[in-house]
């Protein structure tokens, strides 16, 4: 059985070989793992990750090359999820790959077709936030684009309020709090505060609401977020 880490690495390597890696932003729980290469701190422990490997693409997409992404993933033994017709989802025993573009305003269609990659990407709200501020981490010869970790933490808290399942809300909230607590301990409190106040009032309200349930003793960062 190939490990999840190996599969992820192979996907990223394949994307690099096809000159699309720098056009994609890795977000979701797999960020947690790749941040460890960015922080280079043995005290950093990455959060629980699932099999979902999500990539964000800015719109309009500026890919610059023409790639048949479904075939590319098929060469890594992925199969398309035929139960979802509205967007493309690629399955593997260890990893599930999905692509998303930011949802701006109301949704008038189910997916966004990216011709250069021959895929239908799903829409996701608040994704612009992650795409606007990114960092790059180097793993071997791969340069992987990730969201700015502060923005990633704040984003997790915001999206957690939009989840229907309580379990997912909890997981997102904890991931956000863990990341922000780690950065808080590393002395980024002023930067966290600056970015928090650059958010809209609605987003700040969502963060306050979701973090209210947690203990300040366990997460001192809550004092800053309230």
């Amino acid at each position: 059985m190939q490990s999840q880490f190996e599969i992820c690495y192979r996907i990223l390597k394949k994307f690099k070989e096809n000159k699309i890696l720098d056009k994609l932003l890795l977000f979701g729980s797999w960020c947690g793992y790749y941040y460890k290469f960015y922080f280079q701190d043995e005290n950093y422990t990455f959060q629980l990750q699932t099999r979902d490997m999500d990539f964000a693409i800015a719109i309009p997409p500026k890919i610059g090359v023409q790639i048949d992404l479904p075939s590319l993933l098929e060469s890594l033994d992925f199969i398309p999820d035929t139960s979802i017709s509205t967007r493309d989802v690629f399955l593997h025993p260890e990893i599930k790959v999905e692509f998303f573009v930011p949802l701006r305003g109301s949704k008038d269609k189910d997916s966004y077709y990216i011709k250069e990659l021959n895929i239908k990407a799903g829409f996701l709200k608040h994704l612009d936030m992650l795409l606007d501020e990114t960092i790059t981490t180097v793993v071997d010869d791969l340069e992987i684009r990730l969201p700015n970790p502060i923005v990633y933490g704040l984003h997790k808290l915001i999206v957690s309020t939009r989840r229907r399942e309580r379990g997912k809300t909890q997981k997102d909230t904890l991931q956000g709090l863990e990341m922000l607590s780690y950065l808080y301990k590393r002395g980024f409190s002023a930067e966290i505060q600056r970015r928090l106040y650059s958010l809209s009032r609605n987003k700040r309200r969502a963060i306050r609401k979701v973090t209210r349930e947690f203990e300040i003793i366990e997460y001192p960062i809550i004092g800053l977020l309230q």
Partner: protein, 115 residues
């Protein structure tokens, strides 16, 4: 702990769904694999497969376009990869079901339902 259990439940759901998708995919692949017999220096191509438990060997011809040979090889490789995926997923499902079936976990899930 609740987050961990919910993640395990989500993983189990995903694993079962992926397992079903691979099963469907393998069934959609064309049946059989290519067999080449060399008789008196000439090559003869056959498509071999099982049908209702019976071994069937279908003669395809003396010559086969290179494209077709590559295609049969590709399907064979895909079938092997999908079979491996199904085996891996079966192991995952068994592991997750056992983990979630532990008495302490069952009790916790029961408690959370009451809340």
């Amino acid at each position: 702990m609740e987050v961990l259990i919910n993640s395990l439940l989500e993983e189990l759901r995903n694993a079962k769904h992926t397992y079903k998708s691979y099963k469907e995919k393998i069934e959609s692949l064309p049946k059989g694999s290519l067999q080449v017999k060399e008789i008196n220096g000439s090559k003869y191509y056959y498509l071999v497969f099982r049908e209702n438990g019976k071994y069937i060997s279908k003669y395809l011809g003396k010559e086969l376009p290179r494209k077709d040979i590559e295609n049969y090889k590709h399907i064979k490789r895909q079938r092997e990869a999908y079979r491996k995926a199904i085996r891996d997923l079966r192991k995952q499902i068994r592991f997750l079901e056992r983990a979630l079936n532990a008495k302490s976990v069952r009790d916790m899930l029961q408690d959370s339902k009451k809340v």
